[in-house]
């Protein structure tokens, strides 16, 4: 009979061979571990389940050992790493729930959908916990602008992020975009989502109770994304384009419905446990719910809503179709929950139950396709202490030994119009950053500030990392990434509370790459501890490598700060003429690894600036205190391009110029203007308050010096022809639109 024939096909699974094991990304010793664990040869479906659970992306097998040392606790931390997202207490019974996650590999292969589903995945992580998303951010790294693929990737990723977030209805309020040839073969797309819930209404993945129904919600399961997590755990080769079918397709409309339906059934008390189906789909969500609750799970795949006919157990277990959730519901409220989901036009199906066997059992058409020990699937995943070597220390560059190749004014104009420092308006104008009507500080400043509800409370949010520092000195780079995020939040007046990280590195099987990972984690941990800025969620993306060439080590930091009153925050733009400009923090003129040295002198050299965490803390706390006391008109942290670039950005944001003189002539002027010493800010204040501001800072042990005044329409800096603010602005706004339009010399297409 035809039906029997179809059934036979459905159950005919290939024999397990060494080649098949290797295709699943499992090493021979990992396969031996499976044999030892279950005492027999796995079925094909089981092999798929192991490959999904034990790949780098899901098991963190290379990084777990080192991540354990990170500070994750504070009195205000409600939930640290290990759940769908981190949770902090922000006062008044409110919790902030947030996480950052990468979608690097899929975005390189299919930029629009890869980026879109990255946004969808991270939003789901946040609302799965009961939070309503209030903001998204991202951190993007692309290859050299001259690389023939960069423009296509940039356009696709930006459109994909916008396409998903805009439709879903969450403002995308901040981010970081830059370029380096080291990302030519592996771009980075790190997406962050932030949501708000009541502290007593947070939902977790842990299942409770035996015999409770497991409910499948959301979109149907298709064949898309099979082995997506495995792909994300391998290097690219010249056949990577063939992996396009493993990229999922996003449907923000379904996600919006899933959000509304999920929050509605949560509000009605229907939900006992909930887990989104992200990487490794049904497999990892079901295993996680059972394992966390010390329960077994039995699934009947006949009940799974499928988009296509004839899907096998293997395909259903490994599909990464988007916009799906798994829940354990209160049996008494099952009907109510189903009615809510039907109202929103979403699938609702009971596909299994919790058991007391601690086994993960998968049945399809009456046949047991998998029967595995549920705890061990997660707990017994391989854990590697991979060999690692520390990066060699680089020499400190003497600022006096750097002759300026062009006049300083020209250097400043070149920098404000360079790919990394230019305005990213072309990017963020494609994101709806104004929906919800709460965006107090829009993209383009140090950190975004959003109001929560009708205020006055709010959040400051940012994403940061300086990957060239991380490569030059991983520990110092890790410290700097955290310090810069903390500083950016502080510069708005916010109190930094917690961070999420997204560790993007090359192949950890190479000791020097593993050394970068270990070093950066060490630095992140030191800074997080010193700044009371714990890590509450995170993600690791390794194997960002193509044909043996790794990316720059890029530990992205997503920072969250709390603002008591959003009306008391400040932006970077000068507010008026005749404001006094005060430079806060120690300046030595550090040019090693600076943007000036790299982009003006063409020398990517030297040790990066060290981060003095005590000074960082002291300086930031003092600046924040001034802002909260309403003594500061504008504030900007000093980072890429140093003092000169920070002044230019403050001028361009307002159209108001400034006249500045060098306070300390001991320092070579090039270093004074463009050095990237850490822990520094520029603040402006009224003439009447300047004496008080400077003496307040000095009383806190903070270096502070009056360097000039705002006014006029030119930026007049020492040893430099005055530069009209309008010229700076023109250069700043011009590069990106011209690049994407394909005008100018940066066009890499055609002749190559």
């Amino acid at each position: 009979m035809p039906t029997n024939y179809g059934r036979d096909l459905l159950h005919k699974e290939p024999a397990i061979t060494d080649a098949l094991v290797a295709e699943h990304g499992l090493k021979p010793d990992e396969y031996q571990r499976i044999l030892a664990l279950i005492g027999r040869v796995p079925t094909f479906t089981e092999l798929g389940i192991f490959s999904a659970m034990w790949n780098e992306h899901c098991s963190y097998k290379s990084s777990r050992l080192h991540l354990r040392g990170l500070p994750t606790k504070a009195p205000w931390v409600i939930q640290g790493p290990g759940e769908n997202a981190g949770v902090i207490d922000i006062g008044d019974g409110d919790a902030c729930i947030f996480k950052m996650e990468s979608h690097n590999h899929p975005s390189f292969i299919e930029p629009y959908q890869g980026a879109a589903t990255g946004v969808g995945g991270i939003l789901r992580d946040v609302f799965t916990m009961g939070a309503r998303p209030v903001a998204c951010l991202n951190l993007l790294r692309f290859g050299s602008p001259d690389h023939p693929r960069t423009r296509h990737l940039l356009e696709g990723v930006v459109a994909g992020i916008g396409g998903y977030g805009n439709s879903f209805g969450v403002p995308t309020v901040g981010g970081s975009v830059n370029f380096d040839a080291r990302y030519d073969g592996n771009i980075l797309v790190n997406a962050m989502a932030v949501g708000i819930a009541r502290t007593n209404e947070i939902f977790y993945a842990k299942a409770t109770g035996v015999g409770r129904p497991i409910v499948y919600l959301g979109s149907k399961t298709g064949r898309d994304g099979i082995h997506g997590a495995t792909m994300a755990s391998a290097e690219f080769d010249d056949k990577s384009d063939e992996k396009r079918p493993t990229v999922q397709v996003g449907d923000p409309f379904s996600e919006k419905l899933l959000l509304e339906a999920s929050l509605e059934i949560m509000a009605n008390g229907c939900v006992i446990a909930i887990q989104d189906m992200g990487a490794a789909g049904l497999t990892s969500s079901a295993v996680e719910m059972g394992a966390k609750g010390d329960l077994g799970i039995e699934l009947d795949l006949d009940m799974v809503p499928c988009r296509e006919t004839g899907m096998t157990a293997y395909e259903m277990m490994l599909s990464e179709s988007q916009e799906r959730m798994l829940m354990v519901l209160d049996p008494e409220k099952e009907e109510q929950a189903e009615a809510i989901f039907r109202k929103w036009g979403l699938d609702f199906a009971i596909i299994g139950k919790t058991t007391d066997t601690l086994r993960f059992v998968v049945k399809h058409q009456g046949v047991v396709k998998a029967d595995l020990p549920i705890k061990e699937l997660g707990d017994q995943a391989p854990l590697y202490d991979r060999p690692h070597v520390a990066s060699p220390k680089l020499p400190v560059i003497d600022a006096a030994s750097v002759p300026p190749p062009v006049p300083h004014g020209q250097a400043l104009l070149n920098l404000v119009g360079s790919p990394d420092q230019c305005s990213k308006r072309w990017v963020w104008e494609q994101y709806d950053h104004l929906i919800l009507g709460n965006t107090v500080r829009q993209p383009g400043g140090d950190a975004a500030v959003i109001r929560l509800g009708d205020g006055p409370k709010g959040l400051a949010l940012c994403t940061d990392v300086t990957q060239r520092y991380c490569e030059a000195d991983p520990v110092e780079g890790g410290r700097q990434a955290v310090a810069e995020a903390w500083r950016n939040l502080t510069a708005t007046g916010a109190l930094p509370r917690a961070l999420t990280d997204n560790l993007n590195f090359g192949n950890p099987e190479r000791p020097e790459i593993m050394g970068q990972l270990v070093g950066c984690i060490k630095g992140i941990g030191e800074a997080a501890l010193a700044l009371d800025f714990p890590i509450v969620s995170g993600n690791v993306s390794l194997y960002n490598e193509t044909q043996g060439r790794g990316i720059l080590p890029t530990p992205s930091i997503g920072g969250v700060g709390v603002v008591a009153d959003v009306a008391r925050t400040v932006g970077i733009g000068f507010r008026s003429a005749d404001e006094a400009i005060v430079l806060v923090g120690e300046t030595t003129g550090w040019l090693g690894q600076s943007i000036y040295l790299r982009d003006v002198c063409g020398r990517a050299e030297g040790a990066p600036p060290p981060v003095d965490l005590d000074a960082e803390r002291r300086n930031g706390d003092a600046v924040r205190s001034l802002i909260v006391q309403d003594l500061v008109k504008a504030c900007h942290d000093l980072s890429d391009g140093g003092l000169a670039l920070a002044l230019a950005e403050m001028a361009m944001a307002s159209g108001i110029g400034a006249t500045v003189a060098q306070a300390d002539s001991q320092i070579p002027v090039t270093g004074w203007l463009f050095g990237e010493d850490q822990g520094r800010y520029l603040v402006t204040c009224s003439e009447a308050n300047v004496a008080h501001v400077v003496s307040f800072l000095r009383a806190q042990g903070v270096a502070a010096v009056l360097i000039g005044r705002t006014g006029g329409d030119v930026l007049a800096l020492p040893d430099m022809q005055p530069v009209p603010v309008a010229d700076l602005k023109r250069a700043h706004e011009a590069w990106l639109p011209a690049y994407v339009a394909g005008d100018g010399k940066s066009d890499g297409e055609g002749g190559r």
Binding site: S167, G169, E429, D432, R451
Partner: protein
């Protein structure tokens, strides 16, 4: 003024506009589900908010324009009742036959979100009474398909009857050119129905109602509505 805000699956600015209405009228408007057949009793103003109804996977607004509740909205408009469609709501009103023309992909094919200036073209309507004629207001735009197109005859009629509500302009009030964000014909940002009781507009006045969040130029529209007294209830 009793307002009601419609909700279709995929709409995402219903709370933004409800907040603006509450600020102006002191009352939180009811949210009406698309599958309903009737508007709440005593509704004076129906608001169709922005978003991506049904994902905008078909022509924007095409599915919502045919929802159950739209029969009630058409009847309400025919009685002279007030209807305001913003962004996706404007697209829905065009698709439901309440306003002429259509919104096409932005001329540069990209979604655009930014603060945008508009020139108020007339003030003798329930929607714009609190503005001055020719006033330049700053609101926000956030759309991928806001490029207003109509045939020459329709356009001529709209202009001839003074039914253009707002035009895109720069900060100084200069209409058109680079100030037109999407390629709309005649820089049209919003239009009225024949009887001036239906307004469709792409920009979002509801997102500029607070001095802390960009400014308060959007309030004029909601204050005009709140101050307008008339009863159109069935």
């Amino acid at each position: 003024m009793n307002a009601a805000v419609l909700l279709f699956p995929g709409i995402n600015r219903e709370n933004d506009v409800a907040r603006a209405l509450q600020q102006a009228t002191g009352k939180r408007p009811p949210i009406v589900w698309h599958a309903e057949h009737d508007l709440p009793k005593g509704t004076d103003l129906v608001v169709v908010p922005g978003g991506f109804s049904y994902g905008d996977y078909l022509r924007c607004g095409a599915i919502a324009g045919r929802a159950n509740i739209m029969d009630a909205v058409r009847a309400h408009a025919a009685r002279g009742g007030l209807v305001l469609g913003i962004c996706n709501g404007f697209q829905i009103l065009c698709e439901s036959g309440l306003l002429p023309g259509v919104l096409m992909r932005n001329a540069n094919l990209k979604f655009v979100c930014r603060e945008q200036h508009l020139r108020v073209e007339r003030t003798d309507t329930p929607f714009a009474g609190k503005y001055a004629k020719g006033q330049v207001i700053k609101v926000c735009i956030a759309h991928g398909e806001g490029n207003y197109i109509a045939d020459a005859e329709t356009l001529k009629r709209l202009e001839g009857e003074g039914r253009v509500a707002f035009r895109y302009c720069d900060e100084a009030g200069k209409v058109g050119g680079a100030a037109n964000p999407n390629g709309s014909l005649n820089d049209i940002a919003g239009i009225y129905s024949e009887k001036l009781n239906v307004l469709g507009m792409m920009p979002h006045p509801e997102n500029l109602i607070d001095a802390l969040i960009g400014g308060i130029d959007g309030r004029g529209l909601f204050d005009s509505l709140a101050g307008f007294s008339a009863s159109f209830a069935a």
